[in-house]
Amino acid sequence: MKRMEKSRKYPLRTVVMCTMVYAMTVGIPVTGLVGGYPVRASESEVAPGGGDTGSSGTEIAARSGETTKRGFAATPDWSAWGQLPVMSRGRIRPLDTVARQWADEVTDRERPLVSPPDGDTPEAKLAAKILFPDGKTRRFMAGEILFGWMAAPHLWREIPVLRASHEELRTRLKMPLRDSHESRYRLTTIAEMEANPVFRKWVDSLAGTAEDEVPSFTPFVRSQLETLYGHAGMLYQFGLDPSQPLPVSDYQPERTYHVYRSHDRFLSELTRTISAWRELALNPLAREVLELPMRSDIGVNPEDAENDGVNSGGPQTAWMATGLAVMRLHRLTLSSETAERYGLKAADPDAVLSVSEVDASLALLENVARQTAERLTDARRNYFRTLNEEKTSGISGRDGGSGGNGNSDGPGEKSERKNGEEDGEITENGRTGPVLTESQLVELRTTAYEFRSLARYASGTRYALTMVSPGPAIVPSLDLTPLDPRRSGEELIPVWLDLRTVLCGGESLLADYPRTELVAVRQAWRDAVADYQTDRSDRDARLAGSLARLVEAIRTFGEAVNVKRDALIAEQTAIGRTMVDPELVTMTRYPMRSATRLEYFYNAARPFMITWATALASVIFFGIVRLVPLPRIRRLAFLAGCGWLLLSVCSCLTGFVLRMIISRRAPVATLFETLIFVGFVAAVLGLGLTFRGLTERGWRRAMLRTASPLGKNVRERLRREHLSVRGNQLWFVLRLVAGVGIFVLLSVIPYGESGRAILPLLPAGTSVGRMIAWNVGLVLLVASVWFVPRMIAAAVASVGTILWDLFHRPVSEMIEVTYERQIAAAIGAVFAFVTTFLAYWFPETFNPGMDRLMPVLGDQFWLASHVLTITASYGAGAIGWGLGNIALGYYLFGGYTSERLNGGTVRRPPMICETLASYNYFSILVAVCLLTLGTILGALWADVSWGRFWAWDQKEVWSLVTIFVYMVILHGRYTGWLGNFGMAAGATVGRRRFSWRGSVSVFCYPEDSIRMRRWILRVCGRR
């Protein structure tokens, strides 16, 4: 009989149910994803990531190997350069961050491993000598590569930094796949690409100048080629020196190839400017104004006039001057054939314009346009002022037009213009001034606006001339247009000047900037470039010094610009000409010295890498606990595992705190952060469950000691434990103080833009709903004022009481108490590892950048409370899922016992299932409470922020589904339909399927969610 039992370890029913549960946990996600997210077949095929998933597993292994294999060779100190403040995507960051993003894109690594050039050219030899002193492959800082490309592009032409790793691509380009050591080539050089005939031909085909037939590529290879081309263009842009003269005509293939996008942008801006001018030239009113004599300060460069040789005395009117300038500029936009047709090329084969010439022409255009616009506006203003004066003072005679506007410089011109236009009509009421009809006034306004637009376009073009797009923006701009709260956003005027513009921008463009500091920056740059290229033995020291001086020079310059900009803003605001957004002004000031230090540290320290690495160590030790049958080793491994996990939790926490300080927003708001946070919560909860045996007594004691005011029960218990009540009374005082603090925080300190508190003492509206909401707020306020200090006090006190408790217990007992619960910590470790590892190694899917959030997510209070609660519940659900799976494993493969009961035989599942069920219940309870709270908070946030409580959108529905599934489990437990087995099964279903879907990604950037879906599809597809 006994034997029979042994042979069939588990009942058939259990097997069937386990199989069903597993089928559901695996099947639902796959079908749900495929059915749920209609990604077209073509999309997933074309997706560039789709192709290289095959190798990603091995690549990860390779990458993680790399990070430990090689360190840095001796290089100069790049830290000063790396900390240079740079304005990028709405935030001031250290140059290091920007360079890392860029390096990750071009080379596929933030700190790529680069091998020395093997060419024979003198540049390659010099590069090998100075950049690879020991002749070996070495790792480069992203900032170093950036500097190298900007300072000495010729040295980098033969150093492999371009990502071209895909085998299909390399085969089509006839590039070798493996080197002599049989390891795969991943990178290529600019020189190699330029020499590659296939690539060359493909580029020619883009420019439309391919002579013979262009080879056809599959869509995948084409997309890889485009990426490669884009990256090559980016490198060229870094090396591009805009101070070199521009050819008068463009669209020569070589030029297009070299300058790729930046030049294109300049040309498109220029085209827009010219067409705006042309349109104005057709407008008779505009033309008339332009033909008036110009003011002396219009800024016509006499040199330009001479160069054109049209009029030795310089053009007399703005009309002529701008016409000449536009003609000159227009030559830049002609295609070579058109230029030839106009005889430009034939007459002047090497016709070029220097940057300063182009800039001067644009400056002229800009100044004329701006002054004309102001003239017209002044005229309008004066007209209406006169009208008003006449209205108020009756018919007061003719002086109104020229009187009372001392600061306006052109009353004469104005009346002249008006007379020219209107011939001094006389109205019925005897007024002698000109009278404009409504349509004329509208025309006047429109023309003024068009001139203003022209000025803005011209100004944008001037910046585009030297602004090479990915180059770092290093100092605030003195142009106030981007600070205007009402700007339309179509102009391309930068809010910070980029390095190239500072180094070689046109004289007139930088005329307002502090001169000496500007010159100092340029000199420091030249020094640094010289030191970079030198092959002297003290290169490293010299370079480090000159880099530090360069950064310091930029800082001095930036601070001088700050002062100048403030003065300019004050002056412009005083005369009411410009409106600036004060917050934008603060956001774009040149920052303090320490502003970027923390982020630089964060980049270098990589806390999340430490997190997954330590979690991995912990997982390994917990694996030993499972696999090694020696109790002593098990105990030791368990302790080691817990230690590593603790370390992992600490580094993760550090990472979050750093990110919070750097980005100045609630910590868990992007997909990257959410994913890591789920693992973090799982680890914390796992540790908490494991150590519960140790902490419970201490926590109880802390609660008891901090209980106040003293009730009867508490007094009784205190007396029983022989404790004095004095300590509790002290706590009570502290509690009152903390309560006041929380009251002030919640209901007094203004929060958000409207200056209301989080829980205001006065109702926000008068409707019944508002009043009720206000009352609920008041109750919440009272509750938080009363209970939060208590919790804080207990938490603080628990540190002491737990330690005290631990001191009074034997170590072996403590280990036993925790060891028997080790499974929770193990699950936590696995989750912490998996989530952080994924987030860290898939930056394309989980964008680690600390960018600004969408404006709707601007409310930090709600964002933090809602998202933290929800993600924490996922963490708890993750633990429940892990426990459930392990329990199911025991149900399937564990040893069943049978005992006789009331005459029949009862089969009992393994003992451990009971324990697991209890943990499982606990984690489900935590998960469901947090999830419900989080969902309700989300609904309240939606109601408060955008006026709908519940709208049945996908993320809401899925969190509701999750809640319901957990509710079914919890209720089913009471009905007796679900035993411990059902709990285990339910936990796996509930967590696995429902929580993540749609819920997380919605709060992140939309592109994040799309990438996330693709990624999930890929992973599922591969499984």
């Binding site: 203003r452 809010v495 008068t766 409470c929 408060v944």
Partner: protein
């Protein structure tokens, strides 16, 4: 007996069943959402009769489970709070659903507005001067599609759309002599030249002057559009096919969310009062009925409703923008906001049996009860980018007649204001329109300085259920906490 029923309704077993059912249903609903879009799923599931029944069942279950435990003990406080909280939330949602108003107010800078433009469609029937509005929920699909749903040629899957209880022919007016039925609904139609079935769109916006004369015959109505070109164009409406299952989500949503809709109304003249006389408006299709004593006279009429972005904008702009201005803007090719419908196409007057019946189909707009005047619209970009980080409207609140009540209020993202039961939220904006643009020249007074003109779009809602929801949320939050503390304390 009653006790037994109460016990059954409040049983845990029912709770488990209802919760599972609910979870499966809404989970399924998201799949439908993915396939047919949010509008479709809201109409077909969330606002359907059976879903309401499920909600009621859940509510009853929650209520009874609390009632059967009466008298309550002290330890049940958490349980009670959670269950009353859920009930309160459900009641709040129901109240909002019945009596809430949700729409947008668009205000130009320097101008005022007081009407909330909603997405609710209404049919207005005026019989002999007495007017009555009938809210319509015809759904996002043509009714013929619903009828064929589940068959092979249908683009809709085997989803029980018709179970929703919406989207069926019904009588909208009836008295002793006439009966008006809404017999068909075309969710998406296009105006095409009558003779050309090639589905070329007729761009009625091209010409400033056009008159539309209804014509007759065929399944679909005909209109004659007279433009300044010598030959008048005869147009008919044609349903646009649903993009189908394999189309992208964007395509399907585009199909659902904008365009022309058409309703087919059938007028039965019950008492024989001689043939119906028509002065304006013409029957669209030939009625099937034969006039006679026993067979009432039956005639069909088509009404069009424009739900395009253009129509929405025009309704928000109110009468600030004349059709001329809109057409000018159209011709500038900068904003395609102009609308192409003329009043004749959205409403018809007919005279069945010597009665006067005016039918019109439109979206509902509601008077907010006060005026909103926009002083200024501000928008901030993240520095160095064109990603808006913040936008705000500086508004005045006035009486409908313009008397100032509250001056200089600021509405930003996440900072709504409430006034007279209506909450105003910053949603989005239109513009800026520059001087020279017809909108700008039409709206801005001549004296104003040149700078862009914005229109702020505020979402406005009146939510009578919000009190219930807040109380419910509060009870739920507190109850959850209590239960958690109790239960978690019990777990070793």
């Amino acid at each position: 007996m009653g006790r037994r029923w109460l016990g059954w309704l409040g049983s845990l077993r029912l709770a488990v069943v209802v919760l599972s059912l609910y979870a499966v249903t809404v989970g399924w609903a998201t799949l439908v959402d993915n396939r047919y879009g949010a509008t479709a799923v809201a109409w077909g599931i969330y606002r359907s009769v059976w879903f309401a029944a499920l909600n009621v069942l859940l509510g009853l279950n929650v209520l009874c489970s609390a009632l059967v435990r009466f008298p309550w003990k002290k330890r049940q406080i958490g349980f009670l709070m959670i269950h009353t909280g859920i009930l309160s939330l459900m009641i709040g949602s129901a109240v909002t659903w019945r009596g809430g108003v949700d729409g947008v107010i668009g205000v130009f800078e320097g101008r005022g507005a007081s009407r909330i433009v909603t997405d609710t469609r209404i049919l207005e029937v005026t019989v002999d001067g007495k007017s009555q509005t009938i809210p319509l929920e015809p759904g996002p699909f043509s009714w013929s599609m619903l009828r064929s749903a589940g068959t092979d040629e249908s683009a809709l899957s085997r989803f029980p759309w018709r179970l929703s209880g919406n989207g069926r022919p019904r009588t909208i007016f009836r008295d002793a002599s006439i009966r008006i039925e809404l017999v068909d609904w075309l969710a998406q139609v296009r105006l095409v030249p009558a003779d050309d079935a090639a589905h070329t769109m007729v761009d009625l916006t091209e010409e400033a002057e056009k008159t539309v004369t209804p014509g007759s015959s065929g399944d679909f109505p005909r209109w004659t559009v007279e433009t300044s070109s010598p030959v008048p164009v005869e147009v008919t409406i044609r349903p646009v096919p649903f993009p189908g299952k394999d189309a992208t989500r964007a395509d399907r949503e585009a199909w659902v969310d904008r365009g022309l809709r058409a309703a087919r109304l059938r007028v039965h003249t019950l008492r024989d009062g001689g043939p119906a006389t028509k002065t304006s408006g013409t029957p669209g299709g030939s009625g099937a009925g034969v006039p006679g004593a026993e067979n009432p006279e039956v005639e069909d009429y088509w009404l069009l409703l424009d739900e395009s972005e253009a129509a929405r904008f025009r309704r928000m702009a109110g009468d600030l923008l004349t059709p001329d201005v809109l057409t000018d803007a159209e011709s500038l090719e900068q904003v395609r906001y102009a609308s192409l419908l003329t009043p004749e196409m959205t409403s018809q007057t007919i005279h069945p049996g010597n009665r006067t019946v005016t039918l019109s189909l439109r979206s509902l707009d509601v008077d907010a009860g006060f005026g909103v005047t926009l002083r200024r619209f501000d928008r901030r970009f993240n520095p160095g980018s064109r990603q808006a980080s913040h936008y705000a409207s500086q508004i005045d609140l006035t009486e409908p007649d313009g008397t100032m009540i509250l001056a200089d209020q600021r509405i930003t993202m996440n900072e709504p204001i409430e006034f007279r039961g209506v909450r105003l939220f910053q949603t989005s904006w239109r513009g800026p329109w520059a001087p020279g643009h017809p909108f700008y020249d039409a709206i801005e007074p001549v004296e104003s300085e040149e700078s862009g003109l914005y229109m702020t779009v505020l979402s406005a809602n009146r939510d009578p259920g919000s009190g219930w929801k807040y109380v419910g949320s509060f009870l739920l939050l507190v109850g959850m906490t209590i239960v958690f503390v109790r239960k978690a304390g019990g777990v070793k």
